[in-house]
């Protein structure tokens, strides 16, 4: 009894500063509520976040759009001349959009094509591999926690470290060729063969990010009630049917999250590829973000306005992807309610 009293006293003592603070802020908050009403309080609490969002997201977006309407090589807006939609027109001047070399900005369309194929292949493979890994890790494996950590570990690495590790493995005098040489196999130039290099960027990005997606899917798998599987087992349902009829439908919300996150991340691919291949050989692994970076900053031929126009177009693609995801999500919610 006395222990309970002591604990209660200690709790009151610890909470005293909090209560004091609440009393202090209570007065102005009541005044605000009186002035704006209950609905105004929501806006009041949202205001700080909206201010930060406005300064760090909306304002740069607007400035970027203004940049895309200017020409010249200077960085300061005041020193740049207004050119209207000229940068966009330059990006879209093409003989055929399917042949980047017929376009005025061939590197942009090469980057668009590369990014498109990268997103399609990487996201499909990423989801497949993450799902299989999650299904395996959901079983009663020996040292299950260890294996989960193994698959999650690359997520903790900096993308630059990921790029460097794989560069040391894949370069001409790298670890892979050394290993092959021990078995009498001729070394191969993995990072200068355009097909292998493209495949390498997909493989490396899957290796680096699959841990996170596996974890999300694993959480979804563990939330599926066990009794559904037990009932299916008692009915003698085949494992493939169990997967199609129970696992996949109940995992759908998690899968949707994974698809959206993977899609957005894939469109934005940059750091690890920049370190691993630098966009080469030629422009075979030049993706949109690198194109924007090089056009805006790194190249001696830089053109900030053109880079801004390209980034606005990339932003539009991301907005479309997000809207599609929202649409699918809302449809799923409605179905669930029915």
């Amino acid at each position: 009894m006395s222990t309970t009293t002591n604990t209660s006293r200690l709790g009151s003592l610890l909470m005293a500063p909090v209560h004091l603070l609440m009393r202090i802020i209570d007065v102005p908050l009541r005044a605000v509520q009186k002035a704006t009403g209950i609905s105004g309080m929501a806006a009041f609490f949202l205001a700080p976040n909206m201010l930060i969002f406005g300064i760090f997201v909306l304002l740069p977006l607007v400035i970027n759009f203004v940049y895309s309407m200017t020409g010249g090589t200077a960085f300061f807006l005041a020193e740049r001349n207004f050119v209207g939609a000229e940068q966009y027109s330059r990006l879209f001047t093409c003989g055929s959009y399917l042949d980047p070399m017929s376009c005025q900005e061939d590197a942009f369309w090469t980057a668009v094509g590369n990014t498109f194929w990268f997103v399609i292949l990487q996201v499909a493979l990423m989801i497949g591999v993450s799902l299989i890994t999650a299904l395996i890790l959901n079983r009663d494996l020996a040292a299950r926690s260890f294996w989960r950590a193994v698959f999650f570990f690359p997520v903790l690495l900096s993308p630059v470290v990921v790029g460097l590790i794989w560069k040391w493995i894949l370069q001409r005098q790298g670890l892979l060729n050394f290993g092959l040489y021990q078995f009498g196999i001729e070394p191969y130039t993995w990072l200068t063969d355009r097909n292998w290099t493209f495949a390498a960027t997909i493989g490396v990005s899957i290796w680096a990010h699959m841990g996170l997606y596996t974890l999300i899917l694993l959480a979804g798998l563990q939330a599926i009630p066990k009794d559904l599987y037990e009932a299916a087992e008692m009915d003698g349902t085949k494992p493939e049917r169990v997967f199609r009829r129970i696992t996949l439908p109940l995992l759908a919300p998690n899968l949707l999250v994974v698809v959206v996150l993977a899609l957005i991340k894939a469109v934005q691919i940059f750091d690890e590829v920049y370190v691993l291949t630098g966009g080469g050989p030629g422009t075979s692994t030049l993706y949109l973000t690198q194109y924007i970076y090089e056009t805006g900053f790194a190249s001696a031929l830089r053109n900030p306005g053109l880079a801004a126009a390209a980034s606005i177009l990339m932003g539009l693609v991301l907005v479309v992807l997000t809207l599609v995801q929202l649409g699918i999500g809302q449809r799923g919610e409605k179905k669930g309610k029915r």
């Binding site: 010249g72 130039t189 291949t277 030629g282 001696a300 053109n303």
Partner: protein, 424 residues
């Protein structure tokens, strides 16, 4: 607000200011190293601060990529360090501080650094922007041990690029190394053979001229040599755009009979190769027009956005002193850009590596045959534009994305677009 609260607030504000703002008297230097010069610079900066206790010099050692890619962006935004060691000297000349009214003796600067002053100031001005920490010259290095083992004679001083390619190919086949030759992925480096083939980048109006026969002839050969394995394809296809890539590691690992780079590599090769094999500097192979290397170098320049111009000028004055330039050159194995140091001679390069000493002598000799056009290019505004366009498009051609003729058309178009973007 009571006194206690006011004192507390004032103290906190002062602490915040001290933790974030630069001290008056701070001089921040952005420095990159090819070899041992970072260590030498650190030592010299220490000595300067002992002699000038009121000035705190902060030496930021960064990679060359940072100086090349991030510094220009900082400068365009009106930021950056107080002093920087740069290789893109002319292209950013509008950002350099005019030290003429700040240095103790402008005449000393004109007399000793005047030959390269135009390389680092806006056209038509008499600004003192800084000085060359080293004068460089592009040139070749041959792995003498590989040539000897293959029983192939090292081509002589007037040997052409074709003769070098043929000899290096024989060595490659005999010694089972991956490639015969390599040249850094750099527009500056590849300009030397282009000039030897008669190229001239500068049009009559001072603006870029379309690629001429000399340039096209060498670039066509260069692409062919990459396709047939004579040149290391790895270097030129290993990135998109005009990203710089050096091929020094393959030479240091004994995998290249011939490597075309420049005098700044001497200290690097001497340190890393040691006694593993013998190597020699060869000068620049010849073309039908001439046998020239490309001059260049790194400059230490003051940035005009500095908040401490007097301290910056004081440091520049100290570092530009004859005895300091001489010591820096001797310890870093760099060719000095100081007229009196060169004229007096007697540089005692601090190395017991006979190969390095011989290589430096070879580069000094080779500098005597540098062509007129080569000497003009470092002070020409459009050099970097030309270099970037060539590297980007030739890289794509070697990777099989463009035909040679399409690459030539694209190079001309890229350069013309850049001139148009700049409002010229």
């Amino acid at each position: 607000m009571n006194m206690k609260m006011k004192s507390l607030l004032a103290g906190t504000t002062l602490a915040l200011l001290m933790s974030t703002a630069a001290h008056a008297g701070d001089v921040r230097i952005m420095w990159y190293s090819d070899g041992v010069e970072g260590e030498v610079m650190k030592d010299l900066v220490g000595r300067f601060m002992k002699e000038n206790p009121g000035i705190n010099v902060i030496l930021d050692n960064v990679s060359y990529g940072v100086v090349r890619e991030q510094l220009p962006v900082q400068l365009e935004a009106g930021n950056g360090p107080d002093i920087a060691r740069v290789a893109q000297i002319k292209d950013n000349a509008r950002h350099w501080l005019d030290l003429r009214p700040l240095v103790k003796d402008p005449k000393y600067w004109d007399d000793n650094f005047g030959a390269q002053a135009d390389w680092m100031r806006p056209d038509g001005s008499n600004q003192i922007s800084g000085f060359m920490t080293q004068i460089t010259l592009t040139g070749g290095f041959a792995n003498k041990t590989l040539f000897d083992q293959a029983g192939v004679e090292i081509p002589g001083p007037k040997a052409t690029w074709e003769e070098w390619a043929a000899a290096a190919k024989k060595v490659k086949e005999s010694q089972q190394v991956s490639f015969a030759m390599a040249i850094d992925r750099s527009g500056h480096r590849i300009t030397a053979p282009l000039l030897s083939y008669g190229a001239n980048y500068i049009g009559k109006d001072g603006k870029p001229a379309p690629l001429d026969k000399g340039a096209k002839d060498f670039l066509t050969k260069f692409v062919d040599w990459n396709q047939d394995g004579s040149f290391s394809k790895d270097v030129w296809v290993s990135a998109a755009g005009n990203t710089y890539r050096a091929a020094a590691e393959d030479f240091i690992n004994g995998q290249l009979p011939f490597y075309y780079s420049g005098s700044w590599q001497v200290a690097n090769l001497a340190t890393k190769i040691g006694t593993n094999f013998d190597w020699v500097a060869t000068g620049s192979p010849c073309g039908p027009a001439t046998c020239t290397g490309m001059p260049g170098g790194a400059a230490l320049v003051a940035i005009k956005y500095t908040k401490n111009p007097k301290e910056v000028a004081q440091f520049m004055d100290w570092f530009a002193r004859e005895e300091i330039v001489k010591e820096f050159s001797e310890r870093t194995l760099f060719l000095p850009g100081h007229k009196a140091v060169v004229a007096k001679g007697g540089l005692d390069f601090k190395t017991d590596n006979a190969l390095a000493k011989a290589a430096l002598t070879k580069f000094v000799d080779a500098s005597k045959t540098t062509s007129e056009t080569a000497l003009k290019l470092p002070a020409w505004r459009w050099s970097d534009t030309f270099y970037a366009a060539i590297v980007t498009r030739v890289g794509q051609t070697i990777a099989g994305e463009l035909k040679v003729d399409d690459a030539f058309a694209r190079i001309d178009a890229d350069i013309a677009q850049k001139v148009k973007d700049a409002g010229q």
